[in-house]
Amino acid sequence: MNLFSDPRWAEALSHLPDYLGNHVRVSVTALGLGLAVSLPLALLARNRPLLRGALLGLASVVQTVPGLALLALFYPLLLALAELSLSWFGFDFSAFGFLPAVLALALYSMLPVLRNTITGLRGVDPAILEAAQGVGMTPWQSLFSVELPLALPVMMAGIRTAAVWVIGTATLSTPIGQTSLGNYIFAGLQTQNWVSVLFGCAAAAILALAVDQLLALIESGLRIRSRLRAALGALGIAALIAATLVPTMARPRSSYVVGAKTFAEQYVLAALIAQRLQAAGLSATSREGLGSNVIYDALVSGDIDVYVDYSGTLWANQFHHSDILPRETLLAELKTILAQKKITLLGSLGFENAYALVMPRKRAEQLGIHSISDLAAQSGSMSMAADYEFFSRPEWAGIQKTYGLKFRSQRQMQPDFMYAAAASGEVDVIAGYTSDGLIAKYDLVTLDDDRHAIPPYDAIVLLAPKRADDGALRAALQPLLGRIDIATMRAANLRAAGGNAESSPSEVARWLWGRISKRN
């Protein structure tokens, strides 16, 4: 089979103008800002040992912060700043997407530029500096016609390193709401679409190499004083920026933005909502791969218009409640709390994506286990596995306390492998997710939470404050409410994890809509 006949390549290619354009814009802006700050700082610090040490130390510390964490930290920081600015100056700005990404990436670009500029300038032979003074140059003339030209190769090496770093790290700006080539990678990882991951990596690498080579051309042009080379390099960079700006400019600004968190089910649901909006004649795009805390704030500030969250997640993580309420009561409570924040809880989709204790169906039947209470009686001789965070979550403490569970052994596992481990009998019980398609695939069964120790996690549709009275939006989404049962969602999730041409979120969403609408 021809590798490139896979329709997922075409699908990936269709996103390229959008993703690449955003990627280039955020990288170039960040690099420009980084240079605008670093170059003067380097000039200032080059002959001041204390400042120099402090600056380089600070830049090195920034460099040790993982890129993802640095980007994530800028989001709450800017959110707080936006609030301050609103209360002090009467205006706020979006702390979502472009701005935090640019600031974090600019910070990230500073170390190589600072270090190489300082090293380059300090590497100029003192005898040459004295000659510059001796022939009657002012300090500025010496800087611009002698020191900088001589330091240029080292400086440019730093700038090129910074450019490559920024372009690479910009793929991590997807979770804070900045569309980038990282969208391919994040979506691909979650939906096991390796074509998408590969496409994203290759696109980012090619972009980085292209920019690096254009900068090298400018550098050699400046060094050998060839106006042609420098102009060609600059022209290349300008053309790259223009080429990525044009298609985005030409595209109509979409009126609705659908948010999605970082896992496959969310990609499918976001695609489903976008398709429903488009079917109703509304234009819609999606911002995918948003972090759990980012996505809620983005809705509050109106950066996205609609997304699907889970009742228990909002209840515990966003509003910090620890009591466990029945499904309907929790939904009602949540609706009231959200209404105070001017967010509309439009309704639930019909399924839950909760934690559940899961066993192979046959084994459970043999042992006569239907509920967690049944399990508790026999847990002493059994082993259990869960994802990396489950055993430290309040839900687990609640379950253990309520049922008096005590397993022979507990271990942590990558979620993807957990289900297979249960199916093969390597572990007896796992903490799975109720809507996961692998439960059906491996013929597993979720145990009944008969004493209600696990909070409900209804999938609910939330609307941004500015969309509260949007009749067209409500009407377009109405057919989804209460229509997706757990079996259907599991089947959809299983398709999304298929790793083949039919497993792209939009394909799965179309299939899902087909299933829902048939029942109308």
């Binding site: 004295e130 510059a132 009657g136």
Partner: protein, 263 residues
């Protein structure tokens, strides 16, 4: 000669480094007359380079007064002062990223001279320092020999038509043949253009051969000053030691090299 006012005058000049711990120049008084070629001789650390740099304010003095063309250097903007004094650096000090022509034309350019005029002047100067075959103009310094680089250095120092040229061991790094040729060529330029030159050297023979007067420095102090003949009468042991080497060399040369016409 004594009647004309000196072009450069040092009066009780002192300069220390490292917070006063190192006295590089200690109470030196010295006049350089217009048209004079003065050589300053001394070992390393004698303060001769410091003394030279005080004249164009590459270094500022702690004590005493220095006047150049009748003006106290402290009252003059140092950048303007340097633009009107030619300076030849040890091993050239050429800007490695600039062509020979750009190096030579730098000071006129800083002074705002029109490009066409600079270009003419560069040709004139390259002619003057005998780099006139046209192929050197657009070369970079690393493409030149040591002697050629130093000729460019001299041309650069002369570009803005200074009355004064300061030279910091200009021929020190060259092979003996190039060195003596360049020294004689420069002396001819000095006479032709009516320059006033102060040259630092650690080589007494070079000083005696080129200079009108020789100043001997040791440990920051001016030990002796005079024409070569006057120095020969000096009874200071160090001065005698300095003169001893060229004397012995001259005698040995006379012994070992038969005169030209005998061949």
């Amino acid at each position: 000669m004594n009647a004309a006012p000196p072009l450069i005058a040092y009066a009780h000049v002192g300069k220390s480094f490292n917070g006063g711990r190192l006295k590089a120049v200690d109470d030196v008084s010295l006049d350089v007359a217009e048209g004079e070629f003065l050589a300053i001789v001394g070992g390393s650390g004698s303060g001769k380079t410091t003394l030279l740099r005080l004249a164009n304010r590459l270094i500022d003095a702690d004590e005493g007064q220095i006047t150049v063309e009748g003006e106290d250097v402290r009252a003059v903007d140092p950048v303007r002062l340097r633009r009107r004094i030619g300076y030849v650096f040890q091993s050239g000090g050429l800007f490695p990223h600039m062509t020979v022509a750009d190096n030579v034309g730098i000071t006129p350019k800083l002074l705002g001279t029109p490009a066409a005029e600079i270009s003419t002047r560069v040709d004139e100067l390259l002619d003057l320092v005998r780099l006139n075959d046209g192929e050197h103009r657009d070369r970079l310094p690393h493409e030149l020999s040591g002697g050629q680089r130093q000729r460019v250095g001299v041309a650069r120092a002369l570009a803005a038509r200074p009355r004064i040229v300061l030279m910091d061991e200009p021929f020190g790094a060259l092979d003996p043949l190039t060195r003596s040729g360049l020294g004689e060529d420069y002396r001819a330029l000095h006479d032709k253009l009516g320059l006033t030159t102060v040259m630092i050297t650690h080589d007494m023979a070079e000083a005696i051969l080129l200079a009108d007067r020789v100043a001997v420095m040791r440990s920051g102090k001016l030990l002796a000053l005079g024409t070569p003949a006057e120095l020969a009468d000096n009874h200071d042991a160090y001065v005698g030691e300095l003169l001893d080497t060229p004397r012995r060399q001259a005698e040995r040369l006379k012994e070992r090299l038969p005169p030209d016409d005998a061949a």
